[in-house]
């Protein structure tokens, strides 16, 4: 297991380093580290004692690395903040209360995965249709599908709120899932269409001659060839949906609240100023699911599509 994780992270693939050389590899590592720095800082903050969050200069490391880092940059890691995410006292001297964050995490996971999967199923079928059975004015429809994504969410939200009011979908799971599905559909159709467009029509012709119905051609021949595309679309859709704030803020109710919305309310309520370590702890927990999904799908993401058998 350890070996495979290392392998996934790119270690042990000697050929990579061999080709680019250590110099370039190191340069890329530095840039990657800079990219990762804000995330790392938040993760560290999540483990800091409450008082440490606003220290100047900030504490930087949970360990002194065998004396390498001076003591005043080192903080003493604690899990206290993670406990406060789910249960803490809301008033200065009150007893700890449940914060409902378990519910919000469930909401986020349920709403994001349901809408992304739904969009993936519908969108992949639609994309195949657009790719293989073009309508008159095919491109126009594709363009129209994308228009909702061309405007800032804040503009689209007004008619959406009105529509939700009229049909009574505000605050329900169904409403928010439908909305996210609709938004993800645009992206899914465009992504998957380009993947289907790249497939060799000969292979499908061959499958039909070999006796396959249209359905079987789609499921047995086309779909296996676009797994990388499905994985990429799923991950990007998931990240977009997972982090969505504005629609969730305005359209979810107390029972269907997602983590980004709850996070906002948790840190700004109580009039005690922002509790940075609590925020960092929520963010760290919030990062885990997407991080895991992306991590386990990255082999598919990186592999790209194999167009091996049909050379042009």
């Amino acid at each position: 297991m350890a070996e495979s994780i290392l392998g996934k992270l790119g270690f042990g693939r000697a050929s990579g380093v061999d080709k680019a050389g250590w110099g370039r590899t190191l340069a890329v590592a530095v840039v990657a580290f800079i990219y990762f720095l804000p995330v790392l800082f938040i993760i560290f903050t999540a483990f800091k004692p409450q008082g440490d969050a606003l220290l100047v200069p900030p504490t930087l490391s949970p360990t002194s690395l065998f004396g390498l880092i001076p003591d005043h940059f080192v903080f003493k890691p604690t899990l206290e903040n993670f406990g406060s995410v789910f249960s803490r006292s809301m008033t200065p001297d009150g007893a700890p209360e449940a914060t409902g964050f378990d519910r919000y995490f469930f909401n986020s996971i349920f709403i994001a995965s349901a809408s992304v999967l739904l969009a993936l199923v519908i969108g992949t079928l639609a994309a195949f249709g657009f790719s293989r059975y073009p309508l008159k004015g095919n491109d126009t429809y594709l363009f129209i599908i994308l228009t909702t994504r061309m405007l800032p969410a804040i503009v689209v939200i007004i008619p959406v709120i009105l529509m939700f009011r009229v049909v009574g979908l505000s605050g329900s799971y169904l409403g928010i899932i439908m909305l996210y599905t609709a938004f993800n559909l645009a992206f899914t159709i465009w992504m998957m269409k380009s993947f289907f467009d790249e497939l060799s029509p000969d292979v499908e012709d061959a499958a039909r001659i070999d006796g396959s119905s249209g359905m079987r051609v789609f499921f047995k021949i086309c779909l296996p060839q676009v797994i990388a595309g499905l994985a990429a679309t799923f991950v990007f859709g998931l990240i977009l949906t997972w982090n969505e704030f504005l629609f969730a803020l305005l359209l979810s109710g107390p029972d269907t609240r997602t983590v980004p919305v709850a996070m906002n309310q948790a840190v700004s309520s109580g009039g005690r100023g922002t509790d940075w370590t609590l925020l960092a702890a929520i963010e760290t927990l919030f990062l885990v699911p997407v991080f895991l999904v992306t991590f386990f799908l990255q082999n598919h993401l990186l592999r790209g599509v194999t167009f091996g058998t049909v050379k042009r």
Partner: protein
Amino acid sequence: MSTIELRKVTKRFGSFTAVKDVDLSVAAGEVVCLLGPSGCGKTTTLRVIAGLESVTDGEVVIAGKVMNNLPPEKRDIAMVFQFYALYPSASVGENIAFPLYHDGISRAERTARVNRVAAILHLEHVLDRLPNQISEGEKQRAAMARAIVRDPNCFLFDEPLSRLDVELRQSMRGQIKEVLQGLSKATVIVTHDQLEALTMADRIAIMKDGLIEQVGSPHEVFAKPANAFVASFIGTPQMNLLEADLKTFADGTAEMAVAGINLAIRTDAAVARLQPGKVTIGVRPRAFTATDTGDRGTISARAELIEPMGAETLIHARTAAGADIRVVVTRSQRVKVGEALNLRPDPRQTHVFDGAGKAVRS
């Protein structure tokens, strides 16, 4: 009965006619090659037979049944594609087994059949690999195996050897021919390579601009081309086609002016039917004899370019009037650039085409 019949088949794409009034019948066990330059409609004809394109007009009859409105999956045919079209995400073995899933064949029988064709085509060692992990030749054989694994009405091949290197192409040509002989199915092979057509086909249909110009055995299309196009298309080096002005014909000898030279050439007796006027004379490069002295039966020309081809030598010669003539002589016959040649065409191999390009033959 495994037969294919095309009756007045026409295929139009918008205003473009890709295939026009094609009549063709392929008997059981017969191999017919559709041969022609790019864009002549041969692949479209094949796709029409397969059902991948619908016909605009006419009838496609396979195994005695009109198939016009049947989709490809209902036609029970097997096809080998130019780019093999193996299923990229399935192993070679699964690729070969794929057509069997629809015939309700048991797993054991399926494995047995796959192993049998894999043995015939020497694919046993790659059955577990993916298509992109095997060589070009193996892909070709895998595509072939997938076609012969079941018992279809007929076989269709679209440029089956075009992606192989020369050596492999020769050995595969033999292998395909051998496999097809054992199957006795109607087979149509599309190719632009005349050597492939001449070696593999029982009959060749030569196409141009959507029309079939001639259907005949390899020997027929070579020895008795129906028109100037077929004559120039079949045979390497290309047949010499010389513009000529026919004057008279008597006693099997035609008096004509070829490239400004007055000649008396023995030709087919049917030339008597022609009115004096423009004709085209076709002589294959190997049908000339170079003589020491010229007379009224020879064309005089000067060697301009010499191309040794191994056993033979190809000479590009030019007449005084500027007409190019290709002549093939044996290796032992030494010719130098600039040398004057007197070329006597073999009367039995001299073709006369009338003003419309049609062969004049009795």
